[in-house]
């Protein structure tokens, strides 16, 4: 039996479900896991080195490279064949769902990931920021396998 996969940390999941090619049928989507989305984001958008990015996601550097490689191949598949991309699944937990309100001092999260958080859930103030430290609840994760 293979060793179970480590749970990958994903900072912010995408606020939308995927991409559609223009003028192509919406069939045979490429499933891009959340961890693969995160790998592309860390490496190509935030310009982290693979070693930094692997620390960020809580996996080893070689594992990160495999995730990143798989992500690039899937994106290339979708581009060449004109297939939609759907973000789904992966062995991940979402860490930075927590937000801090600077007005009333509360912490809150947003379980509905498609909604962008713009105001405090308690007092409605817009002076909020995302909490980027370690998770305040340990061992909390969402698994979508």
């Amino acid at each position: 039996m293979p060793r179970p996969k480590r749970i990958r940390k994903v900072n912010t999941p995408p606020h939308f479900k995927g991409y559609l090619p223009i003028g192509q049928p919406e069939e045979h989507p490429v499933i891009l896991n959340f961890e693969e989305y995160e790998a592309i984001k860390l490496c190509d958008y935030l310009l982290y080195s693979q070693a930094q990015a692997s620390l960020e996601m809580g996996v080893s550097r070689p594992t990160f490279t495999r995730i990143y490689e798989s992500a690039r191949r899937k994106v290339a598949q979708a581009f060449v064949h004109g297939r939609p991309i759907v973000f789904e699944g992966g062995k991940v937990y979402f860490d930075s769902e927590w937000f801090v309100c600077n007005s009333c001092g509360c912490w809150f999260n947003q379980p509905e990931k498609q909604i962008k958080v713009t105001s405090c859930a308690l007092c409605g103030s817009s002076e909020i920021e995302q909490y980027n430290g370690n998770s305040i609840l340990n061992n909390s994760y969402v698994e979508n396998c």
């Binding site: 009333c104 001092g105 509360c106 912490w107 809150f108 999260n109 947003q110 379980p111 509905e112 859930a121 308690l122 007092c123 409605g124 305040i136 609840l137 340990n138 061992n139 909390s140 994760y141 969402v142």
Partner: protein
Amino acid sequence: MKIAITSTGNNPEAKIDSRFGRCSYFVIYDNISGSTEFIPNPYVESIEGAGPASVQLIASRGVEKVVSGEFGVKVKSIFDQLKIQLIILSNSDKKISEIIEIINHQN
């Protein structure tokens, strides 16, 4: 929208209970009708599983947000699945009436 608040007593002057699963009372506040309901927590003395059982209790009331001092490790994933929003007021000794007032000033 219904909001659950953990409370140490069964009146609006009681303070927020810092624990979720073993709080004394749950306050279910409806910000549309303005009604408050106090439910004694049957799981205060539970040895194990008070958190998940409490989640089921308040989820059955159709709550969309929960305000408490802290949440245990078991309950967050259940709340995530139920799409219920968690709000943590840590180290707070606010009264239930004060929290309801904050919620009402949201708009």
